[in-house]
Symmetry: D2
Subunit: 289 residues, 4 copies
Amino acid sequence: MKRIEDFKSIIDRYEVVFFDAFGVLKNHSGLLSGIGRTFDYLAQQKKEYYIVTNDASRSPSELAESYHKKGLHLITADRIISSGQLTKEYLDLKVDGGIVAYLGTDESAHYIESAGLKTLPVRDVNNSNIDKVNALVFLDDEGFDWFSDLNKAVNILRRRTIPAIVANTDHAYPVSLTDVAIAIGGLSKMVETIVGKKFIRFGKPDSQMFMFVYDLIRSYREINKKQIVMVGDTLQTDIIGGNKFGLDTVLVLSGNTRPDDAESWISASGIVPTYVCNSAVLGPEALNL
Amino acid sequence: MKRIEDFKSIIDRYEVVFFDAFGVLKNHSGLLSGIGRTFDYLAQQKKEYYIVTNDASRSPSELAESYHKKGLHLITADRIISSGQLTKEYLDLKVDGGIVAYLGTDESAHYIESAGLKTLPVRDVNNSNIDKVNALVFLDDEGFDWFSDLNKAVNILRRRTIPAIVANTDHAYPVSLTDVAIAIGGLSKMVETIVGKKFIRFGKPDSQMFMFVYDLIRSYREINKKQIVMVGDTLQTDIIGGNKFGLDTVLVLSGNTRPDDAESWISASGIVPTYVCNSAVLGPEALNL
Amino acid sequence: MKRIEDFKSIIDRYEVVFFDAFGVLKNHSGLLSGIGRTFDYLAQQKKEYYIVTNDASRSPSELAESYHKKGLHLITADRIISSGQLTKEYLDLKVDGGIVAYLGTDESAHYIESAGLKTLPVRDVNNSNIDKVNALVFLDDEGFDWFSDLNKAVNILRRRTIPAIVANTDHAYPVSLTDVAIAIGGLSKMVETIVGKKFIRFGKPDSQMFMFVYDLIRSYREINKKQIVMVGDTLQTDIIGGNKFGLDTVLVLSGNTRPDDAESWISASGIVPTYVCNSAVLGPEALNL
Amino acid sequence: MKRIEDFKSIIDRYEVVFFDAFGVLKNHSGLLSGIGRTFDYLAQQKKEYYIVTNDASRSPSELAESYHKKGLHLITADRIISSGQLTKEYLDLKVDGGIVAYLGTDESAHYIESAGLKTLPVRDVNNSNIDKVNALVFLDDEGFDWFSDLNKAVNILRRRTIPAIVANTDHAYPVSLTDVAIAIGGLSKMVETIVGKKFIRFGKPDSQMFMFVYDLIRSYREINKKQIVMVGDTLQTDIIGGNKFGLDTVLVLSGNTRPDDAESWISASGIVPTYVCNSAVLGPEALNL
């Protein structure tokens, strides 16, 4: 591990940069101040980027739009890869028809729909349609009644031998400087323990997430893993996931990992980033050629 | 393991019988038909019994009353030992004052109250009183809003370094022949994982539950562990807990463990009851002296 | 799940077949009788196959040779993909020099060696070279003294903040009809718990294993996931791993999953293969065109 | 949590003091310098003490003798309570005859022997006697060949439906200032995972350990939990175990928990001792009346 203060000198060495979203580009108050310069610099240098996020609550287009509203116009939907897309690919490949029951908002469900598969909120599953339910998907912690619908999800999975797919591995997410909220990954883990079945989970640190982006890049250009760097704020997802996939990694200290904790957390976990930086924000001087 | 069909011949060998409640004395439809005869026989034979239950949703008096309403009048409050009583003992011994925040019904909270400790539902914790919260107790899956109050419990435990006590270790409980409901033990496990702290759990299979009853008996008579038998329907709580505490154990097949599964579950888990019986119900002939 | 007795009719629908090795092609007594016909048929039909195995104890060449010795000459080293190869790729990409300490046989270590990386058995790590140890790899359960070298591995990982890589996720493997042996995956899990660090594990059910083969195929031909079927005997590795990667899957009943258990294990685990077959062995009639 | 530097003022408030052994009375170099004064003071003040230890490798007499050899003569065998004694009580109550197979030294096994039970090292179990094996006990990490005997223990437990008892819950123990050794608790956990059965574990933090001592005291005098304090160096065993049993607790900083880590570990774990002290060693002035 080398402490390198200068994020610019790191990205200069790579052709493609993967960014985690929360804690790297934005936090509970909005975009990180100055993060727009980082994307200006990437454009100027003709370097590619991807945003690799466990957020399956919205489609890439909706996620891109949320950046535009905050003033970051360079981020386009085709550069946002979410665990929701892996869920969608799974359903397309593996579920042959019938109903996909879901826990989450209607928006999160629209996104995973495709020809031949009907999505239905768990609250609308009943004795007349339960036999057509061929998968149950955990998409978001909002959009349903926790008490009635979590209990109902448990009993659907006890009655039907079908795959349960979790579109977000995170157990919690920050909502303010001090507080967090329980994420669908945490809720689904409770249901999994009670039901005693094995769920399929998509999202970092799982390699399949990185493979999805890597494959996407190779569909239009040549690349190898040495040319990509993963930037994240969380050792347990971004950094170990990037490392395992064979990428170099940058731990930034603008999110989950605070400057005072970085060294002891790295040493305690054995998860070693290639670099540590204060943040992914570039100074104004970076743009002067 | 010996298969003994005759429950009467088993209890004849012991002086005290511990019963689990759900799956042994009652099920989702009410009392097991004929279970009254078992208590008539115990009274006739002057054998003592205790009901040892992980149900912390009500006080022993309220639990006793629920048996009376169903027609089983021999069961008295002093013979019902619940994990709620261990929680109460813990709070009395270890929490010196201030507020005990709780998740559960008001009835479950009234029971654990005592001089010097004020209970407060998690929904009523706010910035003006959070510093006085000295413990958080998980009592019941009802009586609160899962979405807002589970998230709030997470953040109380992130802000305050206080013990979190779980008054029921069960992750789920049956509500009909086919369906279960998520219990407070399951909800608390999710919160524990997210918060990353170590919770204190009371209830079978933990030895402290058995010790509590054993101590109670010794307060008025002499007894040793060889004179007690534990009757339960669940290998993972009643039987392993009883075994570990040094008691002989009877697995009854009227609840969680169905006759077809008993042998393979015992062999797979390595949890071996001293006896296996169809149920704790005695035939009418048992009462003829 | 459809019960299809006829393995031939399944592979007729796919262009590439992935086989697990143990329990599918061979067992503790040697090759499955008649399995050679399956490979004759694949050759005749010009279908491709890969053997996807968690066995990192030997190189693909050595593994191929072991099939040849048993009379199965059609299996070539380039068609055997082991978790050892992912370990090797990881070391090549992520460890920049110095020493890779290992637990395993010398043969297992030779295989992962490459220019610039020196392998050293854990027993030879000492105060003069420990500072050069940049990774510790768990390769095989043989080739070292469990007492002294497992304890030494624990202390190397306590002193050095380096990645620990496990080349085989299995906790145990069968050695006779009734007995199993503890595998390096089981030993490494114990070390991981004691050290409290996060290890990197390669092998089924992890998607990276399936990606590795998928990528290899795409390096010389076009393929999509719908054209591949994974054949395995274990729900928890072969089947859930194949399913999650988006492949169709065949559970064969010639290994870990016995015919009497298949239905209840599928229902209990929620891991549903696309097909269930008695075995991957084809009858003699399959070869008559 | 109150930081109280003065251990004497704490023990003055209680009638009985429970001590953990390792990290409190002794460390890898021997007895803590000055710890003798603490026992002189306890004798002078007529306060009772017990040493409550997860060390099942030797009998209380042998453990007492080891203190005498180091010059601490006030410690007598009747005041040392080890998890080995709970194991012995379990075997006496629950195993009716036949063979108890064990992993550990011969000394550790002699101790658990009693009339009617024959102990046999796992290495001597064979086809002629395996049917008489009625329990398997994990006693110590020494005294057997890890490779052959751990594998053999796995297969005994696969063949026989018998209880497996672990006489020490610790996963590792310190052997020098920097190094640890894998304990029988860690080895048994690996075997438990592989075998898939549920083992019975004795030792702190389990309440049964504290009950055993509490019961012992009540056999000769009256006592209540408010009159006892537990002194330990480990939050996860001594402190949470003592707290849950209802005792006041003292965390000493002479062992596993270092002064710099105490506050953050307490806050991260939510395990709160009643007091924190530098060590259990009293200054020379304590003995001047």
